[in-house]
């Protein structure tokens, strides 16, 4: 079964992987609701998509909705409004993510809270209504942009690793919960992607563009039967090694 993406919500779609996914979906003719916090960025995405659409033969449309992913209480109303505007829904992409820099020796609850709110709670707030809808319809796709950072608790950013590990587990549970009802839940675990989040970071390797990450994410999603994969796939090898490293070794590394 291959999945169709015709009416999509992309949360966190004003930059990075989310933006690239939104644009690619629109280029394929989908109606896309892009949800993001920053109005100026949203306007830029809509304008870029509109100019691309005027050149294409089967133009999809991007519509923008301003929303802070951490504001979970606002989701039910916004979700209902977007679904009504789109005239239905078959795809939800959750790409919102926060990764504030955490300095050596810094312990900030505020930063942890932001990451859990944006990376995890926001995902739960959007996925609950979407998956309920998809289960009832016996079809639909949910794509969660998690991270290879969720594979192991690294010393660099405990809040980020935790939020992504939780997101990966949450997506896995959802997949196991509703695969039998034809719902396609996809976990995308990128390695290093060239976005605002990674800009200025040192020691990056195997860096790919957001467009490439989006393309690979959508190709995972298109399999239709639920999938979890690293983007690009070779990060799977890294994850395998990282997961197998014994703790007494892992805690001595600066990785």
């Amino acid at each position: 079964m291959s999945a169709a993406f015709t009416r999509a919500i992309v949360v966190g779609g004003s930059s990075g992987i989310g933006e690239a996914i939104a644009r690619q979906l629109a280029a394929e003719g989908a109606q896309v609701a892009v949800v993001a916090r920053r109005e100026a960025e949203l306007a830029r995405v809509v304008a870029a998509a509109a100019s691309a659409a005027s050149a294409a033969s089967a133009p999809g449309k991007i519509k923008a909705y301003v929303h802070d992913a951490a504001d979970v209480d606002a989701v039910p109303e916004l979700f209902a409004k977007i679904v009504a505007d789109l005239g239905g829904l078959d795809t939800l992409v959750y790409a919102a993510g926060a990764m504030p820099a955490v300095a050596e020796g810094e312990y900030s609850f505020e930063k942890d809270r932001t990451m859990v709110a944006v990376n995890l709670l926001g995902a739960m707030a959007w996925m609950n209504p979407a998956v309920a809808r998809f289960e009832a319809a016996r079809s639909g796709t949910v794509v969660g942009i998690s991270s290879i950072a969720g594979e192991r608790g690294r010393r660099g950013n405990p809040g980020y690793c935790t939020s992504k590990a939780a997101l990966s587990t949450y997506l896995e549970s959802l997949r196991n919960r509703c695969a039998r009802y034809g719902v396609n839940v996809v976990t995308v675990k990128p390695g290093f992607v060239d976005t605002a989040m990674t800009r200025g970071m040192k020691g990056l390797f195997w860096l790919i563009s957001a467009d490439e990450a989006a393309k690979q994410a959508l190709s995972l999603a298109r399999r239709g039967s639920g999938a979890s994969g690293f983007v690009p796939a070779r990060w799977g090898l890294v994850a395998l090694v990282v997961r197998m490293l014994p703790s007494f070794v892992f805690r001595r590394l600066n990785f």
Binding site: P76, A132, E135
Partner: protein, 483 residues
């Protein structure tokens, strides 16, 4: 109705969890928001909040409606099973008063030892009283005792627009006759007062007959009617040609005082059990065993064997408990799961006596021509009643269960359109507790424009903001004034 909730109460839109609910037949599903009030006050609060927030509300009891009557896509589904208090029981007169979440099972367990049995029960004891009122359910004694509503003395209705109303044949009679069978769309039934039937024994005398054709089925059925309190026919829908409509009839009568050799001991709750094992299999596991056999080939084989077996029993009679006779659908818990992932639908058609034989003959033949024979056919006799949206006609009904699969779904829906057309041509009606397929134009033809407009006008008066909505309403009832 204003919100009873004070400031600081989380809106339903945020706090009510999503729940994917199904119709009993599992062929339709809906993502709904779910609320389960534990008291009438909490129910009032939910209705008030829904009114304030512009959310729709549908009521759900035990979820025994086969189609979408208790589903409300995107809206709130209020699970009424928490409102399960028995308000009053009068063992001298047989008057029973309870909240709507009390089930038929809860009712008979409470009353049978005092010698009272519900005057009308469906084929399962699981439905709630609220559901029985809203669907105006019937049983195998519809021809004699009428529908459930005929035994409702009084009910309390909580309406979004006009607050609490007491309804009976004397008080608000117009509303009373619309709420019974009103699909839960006029208000929440918060209390039901019922008149039960006095019984002298916990058992019935049951007679079994077999019929080799549809005509014989009708003839024998009619022969049973004068002397019986309950009559029901099982139809083997796979039998063709001369044998079309063959099956088995069970006719039952109440026992007079002194007729039961066990006397009143049979009224004990323990004497009303269903078997724990069937063919040596614990009944909770039985549906799994049935599943690989729930297909055209095996059902036709099993039906053939069942019919043969019925011919050996022809003319025999025996005593059977009320529960054993009435609640055939409860012998195998979760039997609906045996139909597999696609579930099933039930089509129950009601046809006036005149022309019923020809119509039901055509209905059975159409199913066979379409290659979609029903796995279970049940024939009953009905009488009309005074309720606004009553399905009961002076005639017959045939209930047909159809397995739904991804491959057959479209063909099956096309078949139901054909069946609907044939039944409408015979002046027939349908039953919303079972239905999953009717369209507004079918319903308008079945019930008549005047009747439906009357119902919708009453709804507009009692529920001016149209808070009470269900997927059934959206699918099958005309949206506004009927043009």
């Amino acid at each position: 109705m204003g919100s009873l909730a004070g400031d600081g109460v989380a809106p339903l839109r945020t706090k009510a969890p999503w729940r994917v609910l199904d119709g009993f037949g599992r062929a339709v599903h809906a993502a709904c928001r779910y609320a389960a009030p534990r008291s009438v006050e909490e129910l009032e609060e939910v209705l008030g909040q829904a009114w304030d927030e512009g959310l729709s509300v549908a009521f759900r009891g035990s979820g025994r409606s086969y189609g979408d009557a208790a589903l409300n896509t995107e809206g709130i589904v209020v699970d009424a099973t928490g409102l399960d208090r028995v308000v009053r029981w009068e063992p001298e007169t047989g008057v029973f008063e309870a909240e709507p979440g009390v089930t038929i099972e809860g009712l008979w367990r409470r009353t049978i030892e005092d010698g009272f049995w519900p005057a009308v029960v469906p084929g399962t004891m699981k439905p709630t009283l609220g559901g029985c009122v809203s669907m105006n359910i019937h049983g195998k004694n519809n021809f004699r005792a009428g529908t459930f509503g005929e035994h409702v003395l009084e009910l309390d209705l909580l309406t979004p627009g006009r607050g609490k109303l007491r309804c009976s044949r004397e008080e608000n009679p117009e509303i009373f006759h619309a709420v019974v069978g009103g699909l839960g769309l006029l208000g929440a039934v918060t209390r039901v007062k019922l008149q039960l039937k006095r019984v002298e024994s916990g058992r019935l005398r049951v007679r079994s007959l077999s019929a080799w054709s549809l005509d014989e089925m009708f003839d024998q059925f009619e022969g049973c009617l004068p002397g019986s309190d309950y009559v029901v026919g099982w139809v083997d829908c796979f039998a063709r040609g001369e044998a079309l409509g063959r099956g088995q009839i069970h006719a039952a009568s109440y026992l007079e005082a002194g007729e039961d050799p066990e006397g009143r001991d049979s009224l004990h709750v323990e004497a009303q059990g269903l078997p724990g094992h069937i063919l040596g299999v614990p009944k909770s596991k039985l549906w799994r065993l049935m599943k690989p056999f729930t297909n055209d080939f095996w059902v036709s084989v099993v039906n053939g064997l069942k019919f043969r077996a019925s011919t050996w029993e022809h003319g025999k009679s025996y005593l059977q408990s009320h529960v054993g006779f009435a609640f055939l659908l409860d012998y195998v818990p979760d039997w609906r799961l045996a139909y597999g992932a696609g579930g099933f639908i039930q089509v129950q058609v009601f046809v006036p006596h005149e022309g019923a034989r020809a119509c039901l003959h055509d209905v059975l033949a159409m199913c066979q021509e379409a290659g979609l024979p029903s796995y279970l056919g049940v024939l009953k006799r009905h009488r009309p009643d005074a309720f606004l949206l009553s399905h009961a006609v002076d005639g017959w009904s045939l209930a047909l269960d159809f397995r739904v699969t991804a491959q057959t779904r479209a063909r099956l829906w096309a078949l139901t359109e054909q069946l609907t057309e044939r039944v409408l041509a015979a002046g027939g009606r349908f039953y919303f507790a079972k239905d999953a397929v009717l369209r507004p134009e079918d319903v308008t033809r079945a019930y008549g424009r005047e009747r439906l407009e009357g119902f919708l006008a009453l709804k507009a008066a009692l529920d001016p903001r149209q808070v009470l909505r269900s997927d059934l309403l959206r699918r099958a009832l005309p949206p506004g004034p009927i043009g």
